[in-house]
């Protein structure tokens, strides 16, 4: 039963799929360019562009952030038995909602405005996803169909809002007004500067205190179990100790962070677009993991997803869980759109020609990660790095950057059909039946 990390099929199968996709992609490059050198040149360019060129890593991370949020959204849906193809549309609605909330208040400090704007993005996405959820729960309309349709409505609605009611009358380009500074997601470069404002420092301190408190709640009881001395164990278990850790962490952050954050200045510059949304994405993946595996809400979602009949027999409400699963999924996607507006876009606004394509890649990412939050972090980075490295690859080797789409398609193919990979490497199928990645249940089988 030792079974190392790499002996788990959920680990080695995606790795083999990645390797196989790159090898096969190399063959395609070789054949189309007629030279084996081009293959190495291309992959070298891809790697350099993704990691080692100036700001390469941080640009890869900029693309990783929305990937994480969107694939978490898809994963939550999958776990609840829902194939939410509409994350792209929910991303747009989240972006619009955030652009509106960000620009409609002025002069409000970040400690109020930023949470409000984040919430607006999440709610926008959640509502957009709840509509197909409602249709499925009530009428049995399959979410694959309805979410695709909702995507188109979202695209056109966004265009209408940007060029109509939400248009910035003072700008030459068709775009929404620039959001207030208080609603911006800070770039990492700007963090020390932002922390000069005591209200901003307070916001960060509060967040750090919250994280400290949660971690103390998790860690202290475990420490207490190892304590022999009963008095000490009781102290560690007390709510006071947990709150104390939170308060101390918050105070420390308030006092030390402005100085500490200056330490990363040598590694960044003002053109660096990497923003604090990275922490939001990391927190979201921990949050999704906790929600799915450690709470009654996740237990219900997973039960409904794995066997809706059994869920019904156990007294769970299918309707409620479909709505909830879609809403959480949409909220995560909406937050991805929100972060693009608040953290990435250069005009700090939503321009008319705003397109991402992130949502469709995210489907592949969550499949590759088998809907596991940790796997999503890694897979998102892989896709973010490929997306970012493609330009330099094209520049240095002359290979079209669309070869990336081919690589991703091959990857998806191998992940979706494990028997191909197993046949290639002469692997035996594991005993369990949960092996194959279940994409979705039959069309309209159950309401």
């Amino acid at each position: 039963m030792v079974g190392g990390f790499f002996q788990q099929s959920s680990v080695y199968m995606p790795l083999l799929a990645i390797v196989t996709a790159f090898v096969l992609g190399g063959v395609v490059i070789w054949v189309t360019s007629g030279s084996l050198d081009t293959v190495f040149l291309a992959y070298e360019g891809l790697l350099r562009g993704a990691l080692f060129k100036n700001r390469g890593l941080s640009e890869s991370l900029v693309a990783t952030i929305p990937y994480i949020m969107l694939s978490l959204g898809i994963a939550v849906g999958f776990k609840a038995g829902l194939f939410n193809i509409g994350v792209e549309g929910q991303f747009y609605i989240g972006a619009v909602a955030a652009a509106w909330m960000g620009a409609s208040l002025q002069g409000v400090p970040a400690i109020i405005h930023l949470p409000l704007t984040v919430l607006a993005g999440a709610i926008g996405g959640a509502i957009w996803a709840a509509i197909p959820g409602f249709l499925k729960a009530r009428t049995g309309a399959h979410e694959v169909i309805t979410t695709i349709m909702m995507n188109y409505i979202a695209f056109r609605l966004t265009e209408f809002l940007i060029s109509g009611p939400l248009r910035d009358p003072n700008a030459a380009a068709v775009q929404t007004p620039r959001i207030a500074p208080g609603a911006e997601l800070w770039s990492l470069y700007a963090v020390p500067e932002r922390l000069q404002d005591p209200l901003n420092a307070l916001l960060v301190a509060l967040i750090v205190a919250g994280v400290g408190f949660v971690m103390a709640r998790w860690a202290l009881p475990r420490l207490a179990r190892r304590q022999r001395d009963e008095g000490r164990a009781a102290l560690l278990n007390s709510a006071l100790a947990q709150a104390g850790v939170g308060v101390v962490a918050g105070l420390l952050a308030f006092a030390a962070l402005p100085a500490l954050t200056r330490l990363w200045w040598p590694f960044t510059d003002q053109y660096d677009r990497l923003h604090t949304g990275l922490f939001v994405a990391l927190a979201a993946s921990v949050g999704v993991w906790w929600l799915l595996w450690k709470t009654t809400i996740g237990f219900e979602l997973r039960t409904v997803g794995a066997n809706p009949s059994a869920a019904r027999y156990a007294g769970m409400s299918i309707t409620r869980n479909i709505m909830l699963g879609m809403s959480i999924s949409g909220a995560l996607a909406g937050m991805a759109g929100m972060m693009e507006v608040l953290g990435v876009s250069i005009c700090r606004c939503l321009p008319l020609f705003f397109s991402s394509g992130y949502g469709f890649d995210a489907i592949a990412i969550s499949l590759l990660a088998r809907n596991d939050p940790l796997g999503i972090l890694l897979s998102s980075f892989l896709f973010g790095a490929m997306r970012n490295g493609a330009d330099l690859m094209e520049l240095t080797s002359g290979v079209s950057k669309y070869i990336i789409s081919l690589l991703q398609a091959l990857l998806l193919l191998f992940v979706a059909a494990p028997p191909i990979v197993r046949w290639l490497y002469r692997l035996r199928a594991p005993g369990g039946r949960e092996e194959s990645a279940t994409v979705t249940r039959g069309w309209g089988g159950q309401a």
Partner: protein
């Protein structure tokens, strides 16, 4: 005389199990050979190997003394081996003739070539089906639509299908599981006729009674090995059961007489529609008292499923009343009913009772995960859930490597024990509290497809629940089960309860006739008539 079919030293290993361990099996010509064994004993693997559905790791198969290689069902059919699966492989919208021609339409015979186009020759096929059906006394109409045929007739179509492809050796996989006792007897007559005309038959079953009714030879498998082979004259039920389980089995459950008290579950003129708005339960009234088991007998599909669903809040009643412990719960939700004392062992354990990909531990809290002590707020309390699971696994003798093992990897018997453990433990916790909710257990087909050992265990649990004061409603298609466990027996036919008999005086024949709808109960007429009139009125209104 060389045997028609011989398997010598068949070994087949699946990851983690030796499904067949040097199995020898011999089928004489013109013989009916019963193959007995618990679920997971390796019967199906052996038959799948003989029919080419899976390949042995080692061993040899001989047909009429010649060694053969059977790589696919196609090869098996070419060697004259036919199989009738437990779940029929028929296309319901097609006619009998079309179903029988399926897969053979390209061979000479059913196809004529007309100007370069192959045309199905239905007429020749129909004629041959009639001949076969007549020759073996099968009574199959080639032009009937399969979906219109009763189950017994569909099974005969499967047999004709095998004979049509010139099978000399027939493998019947649990053929009586879907039949009434009378239909089963008809099947046995057909099997005898086939054997007399030189066909050799392998008859897979786990019902001991049937083995004695029809077979010429009996082989028993256990844990992948052939335990022994004997003539029916040398065998007794006890001996066969012992061979199957590997230890002495007490077949007759000794149960003390019931001491029924106040009625806990009362159903009055209940009418329930199925998914197609057909009244599956059509004016049913009965009651179950604390400390008794009411058995509901009947062939599957006569409204038992819908009745159980209505009693557990999964299906809304069209009219009528359900009372539990005196309170009207006709419109209650499933969760409300669970909390007000109803334990439910659903009919289809894999589809309705369990989440197969979840661990044993999670399945054991499927109805209680949301409230203390399993959860505090929304945070699940894993140490408590784990302890709960360990207790139940021990108490109900669930054979599992651990509480984190996915339920789907357990055997059928152990899966059912997980459900029984979950439901009965809830019941027991209710009983501890006299002011608590009334303990009611609804058990649908609680032992379907299980091995003798697990059946014995679950039966004891049901009796024990009764003796501790629970009202038990036992719905089962197995007449033996109903007769062993029940204190009173209600027979359901086409959505009605035709009669309710005292279990002590009911006979198998009488129940069988009621199940087939041939006989009506003494009091059925007066109940049934008015109910029918209401039916039509309501259907139109709704």
């Amino acid at each position: 005389m060389t045997p028609a079919l011989q398997a010598i030293g068949i070994t087949r290993r699946f990851p983690g199990v030796l499904a067949n361990d040097r199995v020898d099996f011999e089928l004489e010509r013109g013989q009916i050979h019963a193959l007995l064994g618990e679920n997971g004993a390796g019967k199906s693997t052996l038959m799948n190997i003989l029919y080419g559905l899976c390949q042995p790791d080692s061993g040899e198969i001989r047909v009429n003394g010649r060694p053969v290689k059977i790589a696919s069902p196609h090869d098996a059919i070419a060697q004259g081996i036919g199989m009738v699966h437990q779940h029929f492989m028929l296309a319901p919208p097609l006619t009998v003739a079309e179903n029988i021609m399926l897969g053979q339409e390209l061979k000479a015979g059913p196809t004529r070539v007309l100007g370069g186009l192959a045309v199905l020759d239905r007429r020749t096929a129909s004629r041959r089906i009639r001949e076969l059906s007549h020759q073996y006394g099968l009574d199959v109409d080639p032009d009937a639509c399969v979906k219109d045929l009763p189950v017994g007739a569909q099974q005969r179509v499967e047999i004709v299908k095998a004979l049509y492809s010139a099978a000399d050796i027939l493998i019947l996989d649990e053929p009586t599981a879907v039949l009434t006792p009378q239909e089963a007897d008809e099947l046995f007559v057909i099997m005898r006729g086939l054997a007399k005309q030189g066909k050799s038959i392998v008859f897979i079953t786990h019902k001991l009674r049937e083995v004695f009714a029809v077979s010429d030879r009996i082989s028993v498998m256990r844990a992948g090995q052939m335990v022994g082979s004997l003539a029916p004259a040398e065998a007794t039920r006890e001996k066969l059961a012992e061979m199957m389980v590997g230890r002495k089995v007490i077949l007759a459950i000794d149960k003390a007489p019931a001491h029924p008290r106040q009625p806990l579950l009362e159903v009055e003129a209940l009418r329930v529609a199925d998914d197609r708005q057909h009244m599956s339960v059509d004016g049913v009234s009965f009651h179950v008292r604390a400390g008794e088991i009411l058995g509901v007998a009947g062939v599957q599909g006569n409204g038992q499923t819908e009745l159980a669903e209505a009693l557990t809040g999964l299906r809304k009643a069209v009219s009528g009343h359900i009372r539990m412990g005196g309170r009207d719960v006709t419109r209650a939700t499933t969760r409300h009913l669970i909390e007000s004392g109803v334990a439910h062992v659903p009919e289809d354990r894999q589809k309705h009772g369990l989440v197969l990909s979840f661990s044993v531990r999670d399945n054991l809290v499927l109805c209680a995960y949301y409230k203390p002590p399993c959860a505090r707020g929304i945070a699940l309390q894993f140490p408590i859930i784990e302890e709960h699971a360990r207790n139940l696994v021990r108490l109900f003798d669930v054979r599992t490597p651990g509480t984190a093992t996915p339920v789907g990897s357990l055997s059928g018997g152990n899966q059912q024990k997980v459900i029984v453990a979950r439901e009965l433990s809830r019941l027991l916790s209710h009983q501890a509290d006299p002011a608590g909710p009334p303990p009611i257990l609804i058990a649908s087909q609680p032992t379907r497809g299980l091995d003798v050992g697990s059946i014995e265990f679950i039966h004891r649990q049901l009796i024990q629940a009764r003796d501790q004061g629970a009202a038990v409603l036992l719905i089962s298609a197995e007449l033996d089960e109903i007769m062993t466990l029940s204190d009173r027996i209600a027979v359901m036919y086409k959505g009605r309860i035709l009669d309710t008999l005292d279990a002590a005086t009911a006979t198998r024949e009488h129940l069988g006739l009621l199940m087939a709808g041939v006989l009506r109960g003494d009091d059925a007429g007066e109940h049934a008539q008015p109910a029918q009139q209401i039916t039509h009125g309501d259907v139109k209104a709704s």
